[in-house]
Subunit: 501 residues, 2 copies
C-alpha cells in the first residue's frame, strides 16, 4: 500500500478516535455535571455525533482504503490488526440498513420508558410488547450482519470480538454445574463472625478521601484522569490521558464507594495504560468488554476483597473513621465484605452467586433470540430458573425479570461478558501469583504498583492487537476455562467458611 | 424554495449548532475539570471538531442550498436572517485558503508561546517577529475575505457583523474627547470615604454561596445552567438549556468573585433567553460580541455597581461575613467598588478609564493593519498614548504592550467590541429606566427579574434576526452614540465625587 494512502487511512482512524473521545466527554458530563434540564439539547448533540461517526465509518472511501490495506501482505502485526479491527466494525455498520438503525433507536427509547412504567406498577405486560419488538429488531439486525446459523453470535461479536455461543455454552455449563453445589455448601455453613457496619454512619467526605487514597495506591494517575460522583458508577476513557471514573457515596454503606472506586479504578488502569503509540488507531483500545471487566473484577474482588488488602488499609481507614472502627479487626472486615447469600438481585450478589445470575440471563436471552422462548413466557422462565439455580424465588417482577435495564436498551449479548470477565480475571490472577511470587505479600506491603505494572505490560499495553482470549493466552499460557475461577472460589471461601468445597 | 430543500438546509443548520455546542463543552471542560496532563488529547479533539465544522460550512451543497434560499423572495424575516447569517459565515470561510488557515493556527500557537516568554523576561523583542507575522497573515486574510479599502473591516465583521471602521472612528473620537477631561476632574477630586476591605479575609465558601444567591436574584436559571470556578471567568452557551459560567474566588477580594459572577451572569442570561424556536438555526445566537458585552456590562456596572444594589444586598452579605462587615454602610461599599484611578492595566481599570484603554488598543491595531505603524514602533507608541490618554506611564512592557494575550491570539478587531458593549449598555439602560419607571427602585426592591424580562424580550429573544445596532435601535428608538454612556458617567460619578462633569 502506498504511503500516501496509508497516511490517509491513519488520519481517518485518528479522526474516528477523536470523535469517539468527544462522545465520551458528552456522556461523562451527562452523568456528572450537566444541568438537570439540559437533557434534550444533549440528546441532540449526542445524536449528531453518533450520526457523524456512522457516516465516517460507512464512507465508501474508507472501505476502499481498508480493502487496499487488507490486500497488502507487507503490513506489520499492529497495522494488520488496525485494518482487521476497523474492517470488522465497518462491515457491521455497512450491513445494517439505516432504517433498521433508526427503528432500533426509537424502539429502544420507547422500551426504556415502558420498562420504567412497568417497574413502577410492577406489571410486566406494559413492557412485554416493547421487548417483543426489540427481540424482533435484533433478530433482523443479526440476520443483516450475518451469522453461521446462530443469530446471537452476531450480537455477541459487538461486545466480545471473536467469541461464539458454541464456546460459551459448554464453558458456562461447566461453571454452572460446579457453582450450584458450592453455593449449597457455603449457605448451609454457619456465617463467620463479621463486622456489622450497618448500624453506623460514615461521613461521605472521609469516604471520598479514602477512595482517592485507594486510587493512588493502585497507581491510577490522577494527573491524567479524575474521579467524580454519579448515581451509577462508570468509567469513561475520553483519551489515554483523560480517563474519568465515578463512585457513589452513601453514609450508610462505605463499602459501596470503596468497591465502586476499586472496580472503576481497574477499568481506569486499563484505559490509562493502552499502547500510547496507537491510541489514535483501532489497536489503541480495549480488546473486549469481557477483558475490560476482568480488570475491574480482578481489582475489586481478588485484590480489594482479600484479607491482606484490609490488613494494609485498616490503619488509613481507622484514621478517617476512628469511632466507627473501634475494635474492628481486618478479619472482621474481610468476612463482612465476602458474605455469601442467596439474593434475587444481581447487583447485590456476592462473587460466588453472581455468575448464576448471569448464566440465567444468558440462557434466557439466547432462547429469545433463537425463538425457543417467547417474551410472554419470559417472567415464568425467569422465576423458575432463579429458584432452581440461585435457590430463591423473586417476590415479584420488580426483583425478577424487570430488575435490569439492559434488555430495555436492547442489549443482548452483553451479559455474558460479565462472567467472561470473572473467568479471565482468575486466569490472570493465577499467573500473577506465579510471576510476582505471592500476591498476598505484595498487597499487604502496599506494592500494588507491581500488579498494575504486570497488567499494563501483559494486558493493557497490548491494546487490541489480538482478541481477548489470545491476549490472556499469551499473557498466561492458559486457555479460557472455568477451572481457575473455581479454584479461586474454593480456596477463598473454603477457608473463610471453614468448609471443603 | 421547495420544502424538501429547506428541510435539508435546516438540518444542516441544526447539525452545525450541535457541533458548535460540542466545541463549547470541550472548551468549558478544558478550563474547569480537565485533568492537568490531558491537554494534548483535548487539542486533538478540538482540532478534529473545528476541521469538521469548517468542512461542513464550506460544503458546496450547503452553498447551493443557501444560493437557492437567498433567491427565494418568499422567505419570512426569520428565514431570511438564517440564510443571510449563515451565508456571511460561509463566504468568509470559503474565501480564505486552507493553507492560510493552517498557517495562522500555527503562527498563533507559536506567538502565544513567544508572548509568554517575552512577558517572563520583559523583552518585547522576543514577541516582535511573531506579532509581525500575525499582522502580515491577518492582512492577507482580510484581503482574501475582501473589503472596500479598509482591511480592518474584514476582521471586525467576524466579531461585530455589520460594523465598520468608518462608524467607529468618529464615535470613538467623540468618546475620547469627553472622557479625558472627565478623568482629569475625578482624579483631581478628593476620594469619597470608602470601605477598606483589603485588610480582611473572606472565606471562599461563603463567597460562593453569595454568588449563587446573586445568580438566583438575577433570574439565571440554575436548572438550565451552572456555575463553576476557573482562573479566567467566562461564559459558555453549550445550548439554550445548558449555559455555564465560571467565577474566580480569592480570599483577599470578594468583589472579584461578585462582579465576575454578575458579569458572566449577564452573558448567561443572554444565552438562556435566546429564541427557543430558533436555537438550532443561525438566528438563535447572539447578534455580536459587542451586544453580548453590553449585557454583561449593564448587569455588572449599571446594576451591580449601583448604590441601591448594595442597599439590597447588604443584609445577605452581612449574614455571610458578619465580622468583616461590622459598621460598614452601603454607601461605603458603593464608594469602594467605584473607585476611579489611573492604572496602566486594562483589566484593573474602573468603568470611567476603561474605554481609554480600549480606544488606545483600537487605534494601534488599526494603524498596524493599515501599515501606518510598524510592530517595532508599537511599544513606544503604546507608552506615548498611555501617557497622553490615561495619564500614566507603564513601568515596563509587562504592564504596557505585553499585558494582554489578545494580539498573541491574532485577535484584531475584537477590542472595540468591549467599548461598543459599554455604549450599547448605556442606551439600553436609559430606555430601561423609562420603561420600568425607575431602575433604582426595582433594584432596591430585589425585582431584578423585571430587568431580565425586559432584556429577554427586547434583546435576547430577538437572537440574530437583525444585527446588533438595529436590535438596540428597535429596542430603544435610539441610534448608536456615546452620549448616553457619557450622561451615565456624569450623573453617577459627579454625585459620587461631588464634582460637576
Amino acid at each position: 500500500m502506498e504511503q500516501v494512502a496509508w497516511d490517509e487511512l491513519l488520519r481517518r482512524m485518528g479522526e474516528l478516535r477523536d470523535f469517539g473521545g468527544v462522545v465520551g466527554l458528552l456522556t461523562w458530563d451527562q452523568e456528572t455535571f450537566m444541568p438537570q434540564r439540559s437533557a434534550d439539547g444533549r440528546a441532540a448533540q449526542l445524536a449528531a455525533m453518533q450520526a457523524l461517526i456512522h457516516e465516517r465509518v460507512v464512507d465508501p472511501r474508507l472501505g476502499e482504503l481498508l480493502v487496499a490495506a487488507a490486500a497488502d501482505g507487507g503490513l506489520d502485526e499492529d497495522r494488520a490488526a488496525m485494518v482487521r479491527n476497523l474492517g470488522r466494525e465497518r462491515d457491521r455498520a455497512v450491513k445494517v440498513p439505516p432504517a433498521l438503525v433508526r427503528e432500533l433507536a426509537q424502539a429502544q427509547s420507547r422500551a426504556v420508558e415502558a420498562w420504567r412504567a412497568a417497574r413502577a406498577e410492577e406489571r410486566f405486560s406494559i413492557f412485554q410488547p416493547h421487548l417483543e419488538r426489540l427481540v424482533e429488531l435484533r433478530r433482523a439486525q443479526a440476520d443483516a450482519i450475518g451469522h453461521a446459523g446462530e443469530r446471537y453470535d452476531a450480537l455477541l461479536e459487538g461486545h466480545e470480538p471473536g467469541m461464539r455461543v458454541s464456546r460459551l455454552e459448554p464453558l458456562f455449563a461447566e461453571l454452572e454445574k460446579a457453582l450450584v453445589p458450592i453455593v449449597e455448601t457455603i449457605t448451609a455453613a454457619p456465617q463467620p463472625a463479621r463486622w456489622n457496619y450497618a448500624s453506623q454512619r460514615f461521613p461521605v467526605d472521609a469516604q471520598w478521601d479514602f477512595t482517592i487514597g485507594l486510587l493512588e495506591e493502585m497507581g491510577f494517575d490522577l494527573t491524567r484522569g479524575r474521579q467524580d460522583r454519579s448515581t451509577h458508577p462508570f468509567t469513561d476513557g475520553i483519551h489515554v490521558d483523560d480517563v474519568r471514573l465515578t463512585t457513589r457515596l452513601t453514609e450508610e454503606n462505605p463499602f459501596q464507594a470503596f468497591f465502586s472506586t476499586i472496580h472503576e479504578g481497574g477499568h481506569g488502569l486499563y484505559e490509562q495504560n493502552l499502547p500510547r503509540a496507537h491510541v489514535r488507531t483501532p489497536v489503541g483500545s480495549a480488546a473486549s468488554m469481557g477483558l475490560h471487566e476482568s480488570q475491574s473484577r480482578l481489582w475489586e474482588n481478588m485484590i480489594g476483597r482479600s484479607l491482606p488488602f484490609w490488613r494494609r488499609q485498616l490503619p488509613a481507614l481507622r484514621r478517617l473513621f476512628p469511632a466507627q472502627l473501634e475494635g474492628v479487626s481486618p478479619e472482621a472486615i474481610y468476612a463482612a465484605v465476602n458474605r455469601v447469600e442467596r439474593s434475587p438481585i444481581r447487583v447485590e450478589a456476592d462473587e460466588v452467586t453472581y455468575n448464576l445470575h448471569i448464566l440465567l440471563r444468558f440462557q434466557l436471552e439466547l432462547a429469545l433470540l433463537r425463538g425457543d422462548l417467547t417474551v410472554a413466557d419470559l417472567p415464568a422462565a425467569w422465576n423458575e430458573r432463579m429458584r432452581k439455580d440461585v435457590g430463591i424465588e423473586p417476590k415479584g417482577d420488580r426483583e425478577g425479570v424487570l430488575q435490569d435495564i439492559h434488555w430495555a436498551w436492547a442489549e443482548f449479548g452483553y451479559f455474558p461478558t460479565y462472567t467472561l470477565g470473572n473467568l479471565y480475571a482468575a486466569i490472570l490472577h493465577e499467573r500473577l501469583e506465579r510471576d510476582l511470587g505471592g500476591v498476598a505479600q505484595v498487597i499487604e506491603a502496599g506494592r500494588l504498583h507491581a500488579v498494575r505494572d504486570w497488567l499494563a505490560e501483559k494486558v493493557h499495553g497490548v491494546g487490541h492487537r489480538w482478541d481477548a482470549e489470545e491476549i490472556v493466552a499469551r499473557a498466561t499460557g492458559e486457555k479460557l476455562s472455568a477451572a481457575p475461577f473455581l479454584r479461586y472460589l474454593e480456596a477463598k471461601y473454603g477457608a473463610l467458611y471453614g468448609v471443603a468445597l
